[in-house]
């Protein structure tokens, strides 16, 4: 059974603008899927629908067997099991790094402070930021903040991770440190849905690549096939643009 499954998801902003047009795809357990496409094609909207941050009007999404849009679904509880990493990190600037990692654990999962601290410390070590536990987010570089954001999501022991352009707000020299963490995560078997234009990352770890344009999933194919020769002209054009620089 797929970890994330979408069937005919349609979403409108306002009465006329359809941002998602019958999007259907699935992400198996342990699979890494990269989502790419031109700006405004609906990539962010698509993955925000997965954890219910954006509502949609028709179709269905299930995560680990739970219907996101069903009436009885406890959304906070479901979201706690899906990690999300944002383009602009969105660490909580008034909390220390360690407390950024503990907040969800204690308030949502009900872990004790000691338990949460232990988990947070281990995760900070894993992303290489042990010494920064007592700093505030504003004191860290962009790359460090994004690694903390990944650790914050992992602290909840998620069954899947969503990434929305995790490196596009970073200076070039910091992109690698974040991608390295993501690659390691992929190799550990995490189920991941990653919106990114880092095609090197896609080639290295993605099992499949989804190409979106104007709210539609145009291609959804194994990575080798996709890079070998995209079927659609639009994907070809897109690839040639992004690979040329």
């Amino acid at each position: 059974m797929p970890m994330i499954e979408m069937r005919d998801v349609c979403k409108w902003y306002g009465p006329t603008f359809q941002v998602l047009k019958s999007c259907t795809t699935a992400v198996d357990k342990g699979e890494v899927v990269v989502v790419c496409g031109p700006s405004g094609s609906g990539k962010s909207t698509l993955i925000k629908c997965v954890n219910g941050l954006e509502p949609f009007q028709s179709g269905a999404i299930t995560v680990d067997g739970i219907e996101v849009a069903a009436k009885g679904t406890d959304l906070p509880k479901l979201r706690a099991r899906i990690g999300m990493v944002f383009q602009h990190f969105e660490l909580f600037p008034h909390l220390k790094i360690i407390d950024n990692l503990c907040l969800g654990q204690t308030k949502v999962l009900g872990r004790s402070r000691a338990e949460a601290m232990a988990k947070a410390t281990a995760l900070l070590h894993r992303v290489g930021l042990d010494e920064h536990a007592d700093k505030f987010p504003g004191q860290l570089s962009g790359g460090q903040q994004q690694r903390v954001a990944i650790a914050r999501a992992l602290a909840m022991d998620p069954v899947a991770m969503l990434f929305d352009e995790p490196t596009s707000a970073l200076d070039p020299e910091m992109i690698t440190e974040v991608l390295d963490v993501m690659v390691a995560l992929a190799h550990d078997g995490m189920t991941m849905m990653v919106v990114t234009h880092e095609m090197g990352f896609a080639r290295k770890v993605a099992d499949r690549v989804i190409f979106m344009d104007k709210g539609e999933i145009i291609e959804d194919r194994p990575t080798d096939e996709f890079f070998g020769k995209p079927r659609s002209d639009r994907a070809q054009l897109f690839l040639s643009k992004i690979l040329s620089h």
Partner: protein
């Protein structure tokens, strides 16, 4: 001929002025500021809510409070509440509220209107992504507000909140209309009793000035230090 001035009257009445008068003024200021901030934050959340009726209800309240002179609210509240209480509790006689409770409730209700505007601006200044990030780790609406949005809003708005509190500190002197002995009331009592109007009112003015002025300097320096690094 110059009026004879006797500053000894001040020295003699200092314990009364501060132990009774000023301690009342400061207590009322602190409690009303705290209550006003709590209620104001709730009103701000109501105004920003997408649920029906909450927003217009809060807006109506804020507009009403901001359109009435404070003295009038204090006055009316003091005389009306006992009767309202009588009706609600179906008592035989007007309910005794007491001057202090009455003043505290009035100032809280009144200040809440101003604090709600401050908090609304503060909450709106927090990037939308913070809300999404809070939801994404599984927090509920109230948890996101309580742990993430409101604390940041209060910190960002602290200078304005404290400035409003300094204004409140001065405004508490209006309790004279319901014959409560605050600092100004105490000074005024001594002035009347000893016929030392000039001395006492000059002294009262100096004390209000000294406290308000140094408090606002303090706010300025605080402003430099509490800004959250982003």
């Amino acid at each position: 001929m110059l009026p004879d001035i006797d500053f000894n009257v001040i020295a003699r009445s200092l314990p009364y002025l501060f132990r009774q008068g000023m301690s009342f003024t400061l207590t009322l200021t602190a409690l009303a500021a705290l209550g006003g901030l709590l209620l104001g934050t709730l009103l701000a959340l109501m105004r920003l809510s997408t649920l029906p009726i909450l927003a217009p209800l809060a807006t109506g309240y804020v507009n009403l409070m901001r359109s009435l002179p404070l003295v009038l609210v204090i006055f009316w509240f003091y005389f009306l509440v006992p009767f309202v209480g009588q009706v609600i509790l179906r008592a035989d006689r007007p309910v005794e509220v007491g001057a202090f409770a009455s003043a505290l409730i009035t100032f809280t209700l009144f200040e809440a209107a101003y604090f709600s505007e401050i908090m609304r601006a503060g909450i709106q200044s927090i990037p939308r992504g913070q809300l999404a990030a809070g939801y994404a780790i599984g927090l509920t609406y109230w948890q996101v507000m309580g742990y993430i949005i409101v604390p940041q809003a209060v910190r960002n708005m602290l200078p304005v909140i404290l400035t409003q509190t300094i204004i409140l500190f001065q405004d508490t002197s209006l309790v004279y209309v319901i014959s409560i002995t605050d600092f100004l009331g105490a000074a005024s009592n001594v002035a009347q009793r000893d016929g030392r109007l000039i001395e006492m009112y000059v002294f009262a003015a100096l004390v209000y000035f000294a406290i308000s002025f140094s408090a606002s300097r303090l706010v300025k320096s605080l402003q430099m230090r509490t800004a959250i690094p982003r």
